[in-house]
């Protein structure tokens, strides 16, 4: 019997337990609570659990006492048992009240004592709700009604009850439906939780003190309750990220939503490792998103500080230290290193593209641009991303800067030497595209803008610290870029000179053979023409051959002109009338769609020039300009003006700097040229024109003419805008100065012994060399020359000797001379196809070779070259015979 009852009771207990547990869990985890109470979360739970346990114990005791709902009715039939149960209930330490219709029917002794009521009769006069604090009336009434309606016990609730003497006490209550004295009644049990509440308040106070302490620290602090997932942050943490503490969700999600996606996995893995006990502390460097969108670098450190009874981590706390400044410094250093590496290892145009890539990547920018300022103030965009940006037209001397256009803003950065940081949209000129944001910084050295870097189009705006960073980067780039641009200019000049030299030699060689061919065609055709009947197609055909041959002849002459192998017939002339005459010749040949504007300054003085060549240069330039505008028409501007030496652009070759110049510009408003075309502009036979329209020699010829006149030529072109060719020619006085200085420096007035068995050759050689300022002694016999040199070895700086001479050949003379006086240079003159002449080139005692027939230029060039290398060797003359070997190797 007993055992059956026990089973029933235990089952009931279990049901009650489960049901209560559910309610408790509901109450704990699915109720919105103010933030402050969250601090208490782990502990309220404990309190509730303890309360629950004690309630269960109470309930168990009660049900033991009451048995089933009928238990209280046992009194009548089983007095003994009833007494036993009653005594048990009476001695139960918690409070039990049985009530019906809000009126108490029964309460145990403890309850009476707790409420300060004398006896049960007294209590039975008091409405149950009058014992409850008015704040809880509503809630209590509802709860009781619910129990009556559902027949299910109410969940645990905390209420405040009124005790005798005006005392108020917090209790937990629960109510169940029971049968009492033959009818439904409610059994409410209560427990005093004053002690727990005090503990709770103490805890709250200590937590608050802790938080105060944490807030005082600079670091952000987090406290993670692992089983519940609650994560508490301090004020400093919130402020570090730009939030108010109230805005922060007090759980792990706050961290999860703010951490940079790239950093999440690593940090999570390290946390997991630490939780498993694999690391003594958790530590990771992560980026957290600030409220305004940018990321902070944070050193995240933490440690498990509590474990449950199974040793599982229960709580982990840690700090977030803002290490953004340190990380940025590290990043800046890394970027500088990468840029230095790019400059050192990446040649050519790639350099700029790669540097731009580094900058765009560092600033997470989808768009960017790297521009370089040319020596004449134009801006060439070396790299642009996306590619469309590379076609922007920028300038350093703009005066208007449209606010919302990219070129306007970049031009301002360049012209005013200031950084630009803007929010978008900024429209990209001539493209249906706009940028979200813009950060552009000029690259400045010696107060001169030499370039610009830009990053743009990022969804989030650039910050002032990013601007400062890009500025420091630009400052770092400046000197490297400066030296690179300088060497690039020199390299370009050198390359151009070498190219022209090589092509000139090639063209000259072709010209010789070609002239022979033309000679034969022309001569024989003329003969045939004379022999054939005057009337008829044969004569007409032969005339066409002759006409074509004439064109071939002109072509060869033009080739020779650009290769400037011919002696110049220069004379002092005023350039104005020459240019004016060329313009007059041009006018009739130009269609009406092209307007010619000529501005000729008559104060240009004189230049030393071949008038027909200057005329040809103007005509060629104008013809090219015309071809560029042929389709759409436009304006051809020709200007001629003097330029004071001090104003000469620094990009000119050195010999033109700081001297008075005459400047000719020919501009068109035509189709312009891309950089690739510009690069090859002066190459002979390079043409963009249709077959038959040009030979590709026009500009080569201009280049040859200008160079032969000691001038310089520069071309500026923008696709779709037009082209300006600028020719700089030295003014006459400058030319005289230039020539005399060049002779003074190049031709030192050497003492030369000229030896040739042909008297006339010896005489010509002497005459030519004396004209160049040397002192020349000529002899017609190799042996006599050797005698003279043995007698007066110190009277000569240089020996020039024919190779083939009857008694003593040139090579023998050179060998003998090497024996008596080391270092006296010897130049050998050889005939064309002379086999020994080729040997002479490699002969140890020969320093230079001149081929017959030679002219003044050959003599000058070889003498200067030999004497220049001899001067170098002269410093180490005491080194003896080795010097010659060293020179040759």
């Amino acid at each position: 019997m007993i055992s059956t009852r026990s089973v029933v009771i235990c089952t009931l207990l279990a049901i009650l337990f489960l049901w209560c547990a559910d309610s408790v869990v509901d109450a704990l985890f699915f109720t919105q609570r103010p933030v402050v109470e969250e601090f208490l979360k782990p502990n309220p739970q404990e309190i509730y659990m303890r309360a629950l346990l004690s309630v269960l114990v109470s309930a168990a005791a009660l049900l033991w006492a009451l048995g089933r709902r009928q238990a209280l009715t046992i009194r009548r039939s089983h007095d003994k048992t009833r007494e036993n149960y009653q005594s048990l209930v009476e001695s139960f330490p918690d409070f039990l009240v049985v009530h019906r219709d809000e009126m108490p029917l029964y309460a145990n002794e403890a309850t009476l004592a707790f409420l300060g009521v004398a006896d049960l009769a007294d209590l039975r006069k008091t409405r149950i709700l009058s014992l409850v604090h008015p704040d809880y009336h509503e809630e209590s009434r509802r709860r009781l009604a619910e129990v009556l309606a559902t027949g299910r016990p109410s969940p645990l609730a905390e209420i405040r009850v009124l005790r005798g003497g005006g005392m108020e006490t917090d209790v937990v209550v629960s109510t169940a439906l029971v049968e009492y004295e033959g009818g439904d009644a409610l059994l409410t049990f209560m427990r005093d939780i004053t002690d727990q509440m005090e503990t709770r308040r103490d805890l709250l106070a200590s937590r608050e003190r802790l938080q105060l302490a944490l807030d005082a620290a600079r670091d952000g602090v987090w406290d993670w309750d692992i089983p519940t997932g609650s994560m508490v942050y301090n004020q400093a943490w919130a402020e570090m990220l730009g939030y108010a503490l109230e805005e922060v969700q007090p759980d792990k999600s706050a961290w999860l939503t703010l951490v940079h996606p790239e950093d999440h996995a690593q940090a999570a893995a390290r946390v997991a490792a630490h939780l498993k006990g694999e690391s003594p502390v958790y530590e990771a460097e992560v980026r957290l998103r600030h409220k305004d969108g940018h990321y902070l670098w944070v050193l995240d450190r933490g440690k498990v500080v509590a474990r449950d009874q199974h040793g599982q981590p229960a709580r982990m706390t840690g700090t977030h230290r803002n290490i953004t400044a340190r990380k940025e410094a590290e990043l800046a250093l890394e970027i500088r290193n990468r840029i230095a590496e790019v400059f050192l290892t990446h040649p050519g145009r790639d350099t700029y593209r790669d540097i731009l890539e580094v900058i765009c990547e560092a600033s997470s920018s989808p768009a960017g641009l790297f521009g370089v300022v040319d020596s004449d103030g134009g801006v060439s965009i070396k790299a642009g991303h996306p590619a469309g940006l590379a076609s922007l037209s920028l300038s350093t001397d703009s005066e208007e800067f449209p606010e919302q256009t990219l070129d306007g803003q970049l031009s301002r950065a360049l012209a005013r030497r200031e950084s630009i940081r803007r929010e978008g949209p900024i429209s990209v000129d001539s493209q249906h595209h706009s940028l979200h944001s813009l950060l552009a910084v000029p690259i400045v050295i010696h107060e001169q803008v030499i370039g610009m870097v830009m990053c743009a189009d990022r969804a989030t705006d650039y910050t002032s610290s990013e601007q400062a960073f890009l500025e420091s980067l630009a400052g770092y780039i400046a000197p490297i870029l400066h030296s690179r641009l300088e060497s690039e200019t020199k390299e370009t000049q050198l390359r151009q000179a070498q190219k022209m030299e090589a092509l000139g030699a090639l063209a000259g060689g072709i010209a010789h053979d070609f002239n022979n061919i033309l000679q034969a065609i022309m001569g024989f055709t003329t003969l045939a023409r004379e022999d054939c009947p005057a009337e008829g197609t044969l004569a007409a055909d032969l005339d066409r051959v002759l006409k074509a041959t004439g064109r071939g002849k002109e072509l060869v002459q033009r080739i020779l002109l650009f290769s400037r192998r011919e002696e110049q017939e220069r004379q002092p002339v005023a350039p104005g009338p020459i240019v004016a005459e060329a313009v007059n010749l041009l006018r009739p040949s130009m269609p009406s769609t092209i307007e010619i504007m000529a501005t000729i300054d008559e104060n240009c003085g004189e230049i030393s020039a071949d008038p027909s060549q200057i005329n040809q240069a103007v005509m060629n330039l104008a013809t090219n300009a015309y071809h560029a505008m042929e389709v759409e028409g436009g304006t051809l501007e020709i200007e001629l003006f003097p330029l004071a030496g001090a104003l000469a652009p620094s990009s000119l070759p050195r010999h033109l700097l700081n001297q008075d110049l005459v400047v000719l510009t020919v501009s068109d408003s035509g189709c312009g040229m891309n950089p690739e075309t510009l690069d090859r502009l002066f190459d002979p036979f390079f043409t963009t024109k249709d077959v038959g329209k040009g030979t590709g020699l026009g500009l080569s010829v201009v280049h040859g003419i200008v160079t032969a006149h000691y001038g310089a030529i520069q071309v500026e072109s923008q696709p779709g805008v037009g082209t300006t060719v600028t020719v700089y020619l030295p003014g006459l006085e400058s030319v005289v100065d230039e020539q005399t200085t060049s002779q003074a420096t190049e031709d030192h007035g050497y003492r030369i012994l000229f030896v040739d068995d042909e008297e006339d050759i010896a005489a010509i050689g002497k005459a030519l060399l004396e004209k160049q300022g040397h002192q020349v002694t000529s002899l017609t016999d190799g042996a006599a020359a050797l005698t003279e040199l043995m007698l007066h070895p110190s009277n000569y700086d240089l020996v020039i000797t024919d190779l083939t001479m009857p008694r003593l050949t040139g090579l023998q003379l050179a060998d003998k001379l090497a024996e008596i006086r080391l270092g006296l240079p010897v130049i050998i003159i050889t005939g064309v196809g002379d086999q020994p002449g080729d040997l002479a080139i490699d002969h140890p005692t020969v320093h230079g070779v001149i081929r017959k027939p030679f002219g003044g230029d050959d003599l000058r060039a070889t003498v200067n070259r030999v004497m220049a290398s001899s001067a170098v060797r002269g410093g180490s003359e005491e080194n003896g015979p080795d010097t010659d070997h060293r020179r040759r190797s």
């Binding site: 063209a507 002239n515 033309l518 022309m522 001569g523 192998r565 011919e566 010509i764």
Partner: protein
């Protein structure tokens, strides 16, 4: 009719000069370089020498100098199409060395023949 020595390495040009001069009624001796030219000169004693300047073997400038030293009154016409290394001052040098007339290739038949005629006239 005059006896004319042609020194020219290019066979087509040599043939052209030969045709022109023969048609004009002259006797022509041909050489392919200066050495051969000097040799033929000594054996044939021509009235007029026409020489190219740039030739393998012995070139024209030296040939002119050599002829002039030995035969100072010899009439010489120098012709040239420019040199293979691009220098183009040799016709002037030839003039300095004693050439009476110079022609840059390609030249007109008639101008050349006119010069030949003038030089032969000077000889009387």
């Amino acid at each position: 009719m005059a006896r004319i020595l042609i020194i020219e390495d290019d066979p087509e040009v040599r043939q052209l000069l030969q045709s022109l001069l023969v048609r004009a009624g002259h006797a022509v001796i041909e050489a392919a370089d200066g050495r051969e030219g000097i040799h033929l000169y000594r054996t044939n004693k021509p009235d007029l020498v026409v020489t190219d300047l740039i030739m393998p073997g012995q070139e024209g400038l030296e040939t002119i100098v050599e002829l002039h030293r030995e035969f100072p009154d010899q009439k010489i016409i120098a012709i040239s199409g420019g040199s293979r290394d691009g220098k183009d001052n040799y016709l002037k040098a030839a003039q300095l060395c004693g050439a009476d007339r110079i022609f840059r290739k390609p030249f007109d038949n008639s101008e050349f023949l006119a010069a030949v005629g003038e030089l032969l006239d000077e000889l009387g």
